[in-house]
């Protein structure tokens, strides 16, 4: 059985989804029944879920495009560096 402190420490170090299955089960069980740390640590797990979902969203959604001026500058830099490398 995990103690509250062990649960809190594990959650401070790692995303609970990355823990081994047995530890994840023990942790879930603990926060579900624990009246001391349950609500607090469930909230941390919710934020870990949120951060993971945001990471997925960030990969798929381009909500902000790079300025055209910057793109032109990058293209010039790349071009001159490729030719310098090839030379």
């Amino acid at each position: 059985m995990l103690t509250c402190k062990q649960v809190s420490k594990a959650l401070a170090e790692t995303d609970y989804q990355d823990l081994p299955a047995w530890k994840r089960c023990m942790l879930r069980f603990h926060v579900t029944i624990c009246f001391v740390c349950g609500k607090f640590n469930t909230n941390i797990m919710l934020f870990q879920d949120m951060a993971r979902a945001f990471r997925r969203h960030e990969e798929d959604a381009i909500t902000e495009k790079a300025p055209e001026q910057a793109k032109a500058k990058w293209a010039r830099t790349i071009e001159s560096n490729i030719s310098a490398k090839d030379a």
């Binding site: 401070a12 001391v36 607090f40 909230n43 960030e58 381009i62 560096n81 490729i82």
Partner: protein, 195 residues
């Protein structure tokens, strides 16, 4: 049965990087650095490092994620440099980590207030993430960086502490405060949009 070995895909040529990846990389940098000029510079340096290191590209991941890896290191370097110039007060939040409930249970309060809505039901909505990013940008720089590096980018605590030049307890306090402020902000912003 003999499994055919998958051939690594040839990398996208650098001449196509701007068209294919620059929007993604720029947004990634802007979300973490907040400043458009720094974000532009970070992307520029990433492309340069990418061209230099292209010979070492082994095709195990897509070029997009390979470049993102380089960009993340650039961002961490930038943050490290910045926190050396403007150090964070490490004594802030000492009362929290010295409290009985933190020492005994690793928590600050037994029962934080319940959420006014269930955020996990909103994860598929693009508007929710807009609100999330707005709330994130309202946090102080150090708090935002602590939250993003640790929670979103999944860096280990030791590396985050090194980048931000802070103690592990301080990282815990920063993340605790970031969660509390994000929750408050999301509750006030998101409810309005829903009703």
């Amino acid at each position: 049965m003999k499994k055919e070995k998958e051939q690594p895909k040839p990398p996208t040529p650098p001449s196509e990087w701007v068209a294919q990846y620059s929007d993604y990389l720029y947004r990634y940098a802007l979300m973490r650095l907040k400043d458009p000029i720094n974000a532009e510079d970070a992307v520029q340096e990433t492309f340069l490092a990418g061209i230099k290191g292209l010979d070492q590209f082994d095709g195990r991941v897509d070029v997009k994620y390979w470049l993102r890896g380089i960009l993340r290191n650039k961002i961490v370097d930038y943050i490290r440099k910045n926190t050396r110039e403007h150090p964070v007060n490490n004594d802030d939040g000492q009362d929290i980590v010295e409290s009985y409930s933190f020492q005994m249970f690793g928590i600050t309060e037994r029962a934080p207030k319940p959420w006014q809505f269930a955020p996990e039901r909103e994860f598929e909505k693009g508007e929710f993430w807009q609100a999330f990013e707005q709330c994130l940008s309202k946090l102080s720089d150090t708090m935002r960086q602590a939250f993003v590096l640790k929670m979103v980018d999944g860096m280990d605590s030791e590396s985050v502490c090194k980048a931000l030049n802070i103690q592990p307890n301080n990282l815990w306090v920063l993340n605790h405060r970031a969660r509390a402020q994000l929750k408050n902000c999301l509750e006030s912003n998101w409810d309005r949009e829903e009703d």
